[in-house]
């Protein structure tokens, strides 16, 4: 496979790029910022860290940066300017130093047939033993393989150079004589794994299961820097066990696993990456309340640090573009960031005329707005775009004023009142109304691409890849590479429509989900495009609030009611597949929090809604389920 790609944005995950050097080239050190903060607060190491995000949120790339292949490659290239920032960041969190790679990162995917153990016709106790045995064997195998990689020794030959000095003081090993070398330990673990595999995958399995079972995750207890040596010297200063995609374990396995880890408090460095489920009675997290562990929610982190996210995405896009074989070596600078007033001239003129007429029409019955209308003439000096927006703002504010029920005299309101009432949200709503009514580009510019990511790097790449494709096409045609506002808007809308089309076929409960999202979209549009823009710039989210008669009951009451099962299925699937973003907001009475479900930003595009957050409405489960059943 080549080092240059026609459209590198289409390579969907940076972890899929073959070589470590390729991965490092595309990996942004800013993605480690959240870990740097944890390191500063002293909570990063000797701790359990739960890493949560939606699919494509960057969990796996984050973990890959700590694997020995990445760290040793980085260490070897530490003087190269391309990698200096990343090197310094990892040095800052004690994973690497000028003299050595200090950390042995062990990657442990939870995707491999653990769940199927649940289907075996054996007792729960036996299932637990098999599960722990399989985990132990794989932790040991992965650690030894990672150790060879860290020490740049060929596998499996390098295993002979590794010593496992554990003295079996806890009597964990029955059929293996310890201390032993890496090869002996590897063979022992490999035999256990194969025996379990046979039990799982044979058409005609042996009736008796004779696997060496464990009731504990002994691997996490005995694999530590004190017990592992390489050619007589300590192998590393620290071992990090990274369990990836832990949500793929069965519910009971996940519970067992976490329970063990939290209760054992072994002091090991354990990171567990998993997708956060929605509307799952969070028994798991609740049962661990008060336990000592750290949590990192990648989307929440980027939500709170949007400037950093923009920087990360700019960094990623520049690095991707640099890999292109088509000589389009930049990205952001080829995206027009402002509305082209030349192209929109006719539409803007029409908008100015129509809005002016409407303002006059609205204010016919009152002289409250006489001063405002009088000031319209002052707008003549403004650009056409600014005039059009200002007029829309005035129209919105007149609607707001007319809609109020309070008694007021028909005295003309001063112009200062107009300025006071025009907040930035009204301006945003005015721009949205303008583009919606007069079909002008609305979604364009790098800023919007960042918003469109929904804090998800894979999603950013899916939109960017189409933008980049258009840049390549422009170049081949001999046109200027830069994409106009209209081109960008059309590409974004096209991708959103394509995503929508895929929903029905690619996602569980696809039809119900489309109906639900259509209901949500229509509702949000109605709320957003009310003439007085009451929730400016618009609505694109909801919080589930029990109906009046159920208010005394906690949330779990309706979740556990079978009538609402279709709603639970739809909302939890939407969150799992990143169609809804789950945000926790503090609002209302002191300490009161709401779980708000915002549309993924590409859905906002599909329904022609703004990309901002903050506009959400309360909905009862009964209202929501109606959308599914429509």
């Amino acid at each position: 496979m080549s080092d240059a790609f026609r459209n590198p944005f289409k390579l969907r995950n940076s972890e899929k790029i073959d070589s470590e050097i390729g991965f490092l080239r595309l990996f942004s050190p800013l993605a480690l910022e959240a870990l740097v903060q944890k390191h500063r607060s002293g909570t990063l190491w000797e701790n359990v860290l739960l890493i949560h995000s939606s699919p494509g949120g960057g969990k796996t790339s984050l973990l890959r940066a700590f694997e020995p292949g990445s760290l040793t490659t980085l260490w070897n290239s530490k003087s190269a300017s391309d990698y200096r920032d990343l090197f310094n960041t990892l040095k800052g969190i004690d994973a690497i130093s000028k003299s050595e790679v200090k950390l042995l990162g062990v990657s442990l995917p939870c995707t491999r047939n653990y769940q199927i153990l649940e289907e075996l016709n054996i007792s729960e106790a036996q299932k637990k033993r098999l599960f722990f045995s399989l985990l132990n064997s794989r932790v040991i195998l992965s650690t030894l393989r990672a150790a060879c990689r860290l020490k740049n020794r060929k596998f499996p030959e390098g295993l002979e150079d590794i010593e496992f000095r554990y003295d079996n003081s806890d009597n964990y090993f029955k059929s293996l004589e310890v201390p032993c070398n890496g090869k002996q330990l590897f063979d022992w673990a490999s035999n256990i794994e194969k025996d379990i595999y046979k039990t799982i995958d044979s058409f005609i399995p042996e009736t008796e299961i004779s696997v060496e079972g464990h009731d504990e995750l002994i691997s996490l207890l005995v694999l530590n820097p004190q017990n592992l040596y390489f050619r007589g010297k300590p192998l590393c200063s620290r071992i990090l066990f990274m369990f990836d995609d832990a949500h793929k374990l069965s519910d009971s396995q996940r519970l067992l696993f976490k329970q063990y880890i939290f209760e054992k408090r072994s002091g090991a460095n354990i990171w567990i990456s998993e997708r956060l489920e929605a509307l799952a009675p969070d028994e798991q997290l609740k049962s661990f309340e008060g336990r000592d562990f750290e949590e990192l929610n990648l989307e929440n982190y980027w939500n709170k640090n949007q400037k950093k996210l923009k920087e990360v995405l700019r960094n990623i896009s520049d690095k991707r573009a640099a890999l292109s074989s088509e000589e389009v070596t930049s990205f952001q600078e080829y995206l027009i960031a402002n509305l082209s007033e030349t192209d929109a001239n006719e539409k803007l003129s029409l908008a100015v005329k129509e809005t002016t007429d409407k303002i006059h029409e609205l204010s016919k019955v009152t002289n409250k707005f006489d001063e405002w209308i009088g000031a319209l003439d002052d707008l003549e000096n403004e650009t056409l775009l600014n005039r059009a927006i200002r007029l829309k703002e005035i129209e919105i504010l007149i609607h707001r004023n007319l809609g109020k029920n309070q008694l007021s005299f028909d005295f003309p309101m001063p112009i200062e009142e107009l300025d006071k009432k025009t907040g930035s949200e009204v301006t945003k709503a005015a721009a949205l109304f303008l583009s919606s009514v007069h079909d002008m580009p609305y979604y364009f510019g790098f800023e919007d691409l960042v918003k469109l990511s929904s804090f998800n790097i894979e999603q950013f790449l899916s939109f960017s890849s189409e933008m980049f494709e258009a840049m390549i096409s422009n170049k081949i045609k001999g046109d200027q590479i830069i994409l106009s506002d209209r081109e960008q808007h059309d590409i974004i809308v096209k991708v959103a429509k394509h995503n929508w089309k895929k929903l029905r076929t690619e996602i569980p409960f696809g039809q119900s989900i489309r109906r639900f999202l259509t209901g949500l979209g229509e509702f949000s549009k109605t709320q957003t495009f009310k003439p007085n823009a009451p929730y400016a710039p618009g609505v694109n989210g909801f919080a589930i609030t029990p109906s009046v008669q159920d208010k005394l009951y906690p949330e779990e009451q309706w979740i556990n009611n079978s009538i609402y099962q279709p709603l639970v299925n739809v909302v939890s699937t939407c969150v799992a597949y990143n169609l809804l973003e789950r945000h926790t907001l503090l609002q209302g009475k002191k300490g009161q929090s709401h779980t708000v479900y915002y549309m993924n930003r590409w859905l906002c595009v599909f329904f022609g809604l703004p990309l901002s957050y903050g506009g959400w409405r309360h909905q009862t489960p009964d209202q929501l389920i109606k959308w599914i059943k429509k």
Partner: protein, 385 residues
């Protein structure tokens, strides 16, 4: 050239099927177990009715498999098709014995549910004693989902293979019809991809993951999401070397089919997956044994080339017709220690044109593949390919 179990082999194509059944079941003492799925596919009874038309006096019992895709499955929209099929089934069976067995595709014990259809299918026949009274077994896969019939056939083959002498005749039948296939759209793709039960190929052993993984996806139309999911699974282990070798159906009934597929998947194959053009291979569309031979040869070549890395593991996936999938099944069965079947399950199906699909039924072509039994005990099998 590596030694292949099914070379030479016996494949009987549409025109020859009726006379073949007449000839085969003329022999006295034959007792047949016919296995089929209870589903909405209009081809459900196609093979059975052709058989009973040819051999009305046959001693036959049916194992009818009813599979439950879950309450939310879109397939439930086509219950009227199932009812029609069952009415027709009862009519052609004329009171012969039917053993109805129900299996679940998903286990709902967890919140998300686990795919268990393959394991349950393999469990339908637990031991050889359950089938020992039958001289012949036909498994008709026309209305069975991939997630079931691979493991079901694998289990039956295993049980039959345990008997070294007087092996029973095991046939697979499929009513091939590309037009019907294109009107049935798979949807609700399952997120958790697994290697089918019994066809794990030891691919997921951590101890052997230094062996590169070679994936042969056999391409069919409108499966971009399936192929993308499959590719994600193949590439999920970043430390493992992998190679993707897309397989296109050629020669094919429509000679431009493979070109059309390349156009359809161009972006996915060459931009997203960065596949080398020389990795693309072709397999004949209408002969599963040929697919089996071609794949076996390609695999042998890879194994030989990668011997220096202790060999390699192979994953096969079929996104194309059921007929071709039989070829992949045979490869994976024969080389179970390093070849696995990666299946992308669907939670349900949609019929794009309900009236059209019924009219197309009679245009189907019947293929019979003979897997075990008399021809493989003889020096020169009849109808040899």
């Amino acid at each position: 050239m590596n030694e292949l179990r099914w070379s030479p082999n016996v494949l009987i194509k549409d025109d020859a099927v009726d006379s073949f059944w007449k000839e085969h079941f003329r022999e006295e003492g034959r007792r047949l177990l016919f296995v089929l799925g209870k589903g909405f596919d209009v081809r459900m009874n196609f093979a059975l009715s052709r058989l009973l038309d040819s051999c009305p006096g046959i001693n036959l019992e049916c194992l009818l498999i009813e599979f439950d895709e879950g309450a939310g499955s879109s397939s439930l929209n086509y219950n009227s098709f199932v009812t029609d099929n069952i009415t027709e089934y009862e009519k052609i069976m004329q009171g012969r014995t039917t053993h109805l067995k129900k299996i679940k595709m998903k286990n709902k014990s967890g919140k998300r549910g686990r795919i268990v259809g393959d394991r349950n299918a393999a469990d339908l026949i637990k031991s050889h004693s359950e089938i020992e009274d039958f001289t012949d077994i036909i498994v008709d896969i026309s209305s069975l989902p991939r997630g079931l019939y691979f493991s079901l056939i694998g289990k039956i083959l295993k049980l039959v293979d345990q008997k070294q002498e007087d092996q029973q005749n095991l046939f697979l039948t499929v009513a091939e019809n590309v037009k019907i296939d294109s009107l049935i759209q798979e949807n609700e793709i399952e997120e958790d991809l697994t290697y089918l039960h019994g066809f794990g190929g030891q691919i997921e052993l951590e101890a052997e993951k230094e062996q590169p993984l070679i994936w042969f996806p056999i391409l069919g139309e409108e499966k971009i999401a399936h192929i993308s999911k499959g590719a994600d699974k193949i590439m999920e282990d970043k430390a493992r070397l992998y190679e993707i070798c897309p397989v296109l159906p050629f020669p094919s009934k429509d000679p431009r089919r493979s070109d059309a597929l390349l156009i359809e998947y161009h972006k996915l194959l060459f931009d997203s997956l960065d596949i080398e053009p020389q990795n693309i291979m072709y397999t004949t569309e209408r002969d599963p044994f040929q697919t089996y031979i071609q794949l076996s040869d390609a695999i042998a070549n890879y194994r030989e080339s990668l011997n220096v890395l202790n060999g390699c593991k192979i994953a096969l996936s079929t996104f194309s017709s059921k007929l071709i999938s039989i070829g992949t099944l045979l490869v994976a069965y024969e080389k179970s220690e390093f070849v696995g079947i990666l299946n992308v399950n669907s939670g349900g199906y949609d019929i794009l044109d309900e009236s059209k699909i019924k009219n197309l039924k009679q245009e189907s072509e019947l293929f019979v593949t003979w897997l075990t039994g008399s021809p493989y005990h003889q020096q020169s099998p009849k109808n040899s390919n």
